[in-house]
């Protein structure tokens, strides 16, 4: 029972982290129709920038903010200079984001070296609570809270605000929105950069959890996020939230009982869902 409670917390924390990646991917895919392979790279940059800033100022929240800003700016550059030129051409989008992924992943190795850099958890969150015999890591609870807040925030932004309305309208018919005097391109850039910032935040939060940062951590988490996005249904925000929880719990469960199977279990789960429901759990049509 205690183990189950602990695994539940671990799984939800893991799910919250994956969600930060998957949410950005899913929003960019759903609203812009772009599949972003630089997401894992932004994740790494978030991790490296956060520990770099943390070593300068020693404040965890400044480090997180720096990671978010770095991710946002990189996303802005990627969208403005490269992705914008290939809207509507799926193949070129995949190719160009893969190229950026290669460049910026190697740039990390150039700037910070090829070896993993150890990172500590912020002291005030390093502790544990014991409730009913269950040991609860404070940092994991913090991750879950962040995940929930981000989910609520994005949902509010997209469905309840004027900005969200314009973005949704722009997805339906960009020319019409443009004709009404709204510069839709700015909103598209904003969506892309916002998704990128979420990935960087995910990276910055991931590093203290695993205790080190290395350049290979991006691709692994990117694949998990892809699995979530397909599992939940491409472009569906709810789908990516539910998918993240499912994948997070699966990873926590399998890695507790038999670690070597972790990587296989997520893909098997994906295959299982796709055989039963080819469009994913909450799949609707993606903008084409």
């Amino acid at each position: 029972m205690n183990i189950l409670a602990m695994l539940l917390i671990n799984g939800l924390a893991e799910g919250a982290l994956i969600f930060l990646m998957a949410a950005g991917l899913s929003i960019i895919l759903g609203l812009l129709g772009v599949v972003n392979f630089t997401h894992g790279t932004l994740f790494i940059w978030g991790g490296y920038v956060s520990i770099w800033v943390f070593s300068l100022f020693g404040n965890f929240f400044i480090a997180l903010a720096a990671a978010i800003i770095a991710g946002f700016l990189m996303g802005l550059v990627f969208e403005r200079l490269f992705v914008r030129q290939v809207y509507g051409n799926v193949t070129a989008q995949i190719l160009i984001t893969l190229g950026l992924m290669t460049i910026f992943t190697d740039m990390v190795r150039l700037l910070w070296g090829p070896n993993p850099i150890p990172a500590d958890r912020p002291e005030f969150m390093d502790g544990t609570w014991i409730a009913g015999g269950v040991i609860i890591s404070q940092y994991r609870v913090f991750l879950i809270v962040v995940g929930i807040l981000v989910a609520i925030g994005i949902n509010y932004l997209i469905n309840r605000t004027r900005i969200g309305m314009i973005m949704r309208a722009g997805t339906q018919s960009p020319d019409m929105v443009q004709a009404m005097g709204i510069n839709i391109k700015v909103y598209f850039s904003g969506v892309f950069a916002g998704g990128a910032a979420l990935a960087a935040l995910g990276g910055a939060l991931y590093v203290p959890l695993v205790g080190s940062v290395w350049s290979g951590m991006g691709i692994h988490n990117q694949i998990l996020a892809f699995i979530v996005v397909i599992l939940g249904g491409m472009g569906s925000f709810y789908g990516s939230a539910v998918g993240s929880i499912i994948i997070g719990l699966t990873v926590a469960l399998v890695s507790w009982f038999y670690p070597p199977l972790t990587v296989y279990s997520t893909v098997l789960l994906l295959i299982l869902v796709l055989s039963l429901k080819p469009e994913g759990l909450f799949g609707t049509a993606v903008r084409s």
Binding site: V35, Q85, T91, A92, Y264, V267, E279, V286, S288
Partner: protein, 337 residues
């Protein structure tokens, strides 16, 4: 409609001029080793073998319109199968034959299973799902290779001995050249066959091809199986050349190499892969020599990515495409004069 039927019926032949060009090129390649060092000979052998890896990707990307981000698993799989068998049984020609049979069976089966899941959707979301699912498959194979250290030595890399007749670098050059020529002929036959024509129809307009009664998923599966088998064979040749395998061969980066070879040369041309591989390998070699000038030149991947992005943005049809464009514009100018 007419475009589609044109593609379906078009016969392809080589003009006398092209034949002469090919002949000269072949003659030049045959005598390269006589006046160049061993490094050049090995580099060229490498190019010949990797060109087939690139060409196999061209069948997917250029002829069928599939983006397979796990393609390295076939190539690396071939190298590992050969290496493990040479280590476990012995470096003989019989074992090589066994490795070829196993690698072909391995790649055919994996390609079939992978395709079953990757080719579920069609159209826009189909392409994306395919890229993501194949990426996951590729990572699973890489992960497996890293987990079963007993067989693969994990990230340290696997060294092995090879049959005696492949040990001579000079002979290996000719074997590699021969391999490239034979594979090019086979793959050319394949893309010009009726099946190959259907693949191009699927690439140009999958929905239309389906309405014409073609089971497009079946044809995509065929393309993936053929491409997988071809790159597994290239992987075995690579094993014979380098006598070494590591998990680097199975990474996404390895897949991106093949992708870059085809897009630099020109997709949908087959020969483009040879040009692209030559260009990329020579550029990599040249930049590595500049390492002494500035440290940045040792970061090949940054240049790799830059070439990649530039080609996608400004030369989407590669060297061969640009060449044809030049020819076409010249002809147009002549006509107007």
């Amino acid at each position: 409609m007419s475009v589609l039927t044109n593609i379906l019926q078009k016969k392809s032949t080589i003009s006398p001029l092209q034949a002469a060009g090919l002949f000269i090129l072949l003659a030049a390649l045959l005598i390269v080793p006589t006046f160049s060092g061993m490094t050049t000979v090995t580099l060229f052998s490498r190019i010949f073998i990797l060109a087939i890896f690139g060409m196999s990707y061209d069948i997917l990307r250029g002829y069928t319109g599939i983006i397979n981000l796990g393609h390295a698993l076939f190539f690396g799989g071939g190298t590992y199968i050969a290496g493990i068998l040479f280590n476990r049984i012995g470096p003989t020609l019989d074992v090589l034959l066994l490795a070829i049979v196993i690698a072909l069976a391995f790649s055919a089966v994996i390609a079939y299973v992978m395709g079953q899941f990757a080719f579920r959707g069609t159209g826009f979301s189909g392409v994306i799902a395919c890229a993501m699912i194949t990426l996951a498959f590729g990572e699973i194979v890489r992960h497996t290779a890293e987990t079963f250290r007993e067989f693969t030595q994990g990230a340290d890399g696997l060294t092995f001995r090879i049959p005696e007749i492949f040990q001579d670098r000079l002979m290996m050059y000719y074997y590699a050249l021969l391999f490239m020529i034979i594979m090019t002929i086979i793959l050319r036959q394949f893309v010009n066959s009726p099946t190959g024509r259907v693949l191009q129809a699927v690439r140009d307009n999958e929905q239309r091809a389906r309405f014409l009664g073609y089971d497009t998923k079946k044809y995509k599966l065929i393309a993936l199986v053929v491409a997988g088998m071809a790159s597994a064979l290239a992987g075995i040749m690579f094993a014979l050349l380098t006598r070494f395998a590591n998990t680097e061969l199975l990474t996404v980066q390895s897949t991106l190499n093949a992708l870059l070879y085809t897009i630099v040369g020109g997709t949908g041309t087959l020969y483009g892969a040879i040009i692209g591989t030559g260009f990329v390998q020579l550029a990599q070699n040249y930049l590595l020599e500049l390492r002494g000038v500035h440290e940045i030149f040792s970061r090949w991947l940054i240049f790799f990515g830059a070439i990649y992005v530039l080609v996608v943005l400004y030369m989407p049809r590669g060297v061969i495409g640009a060449y044809y464009q030049l020819l076409a514009s010249r002809q147009k100018r002549r006509k107007t004069e």
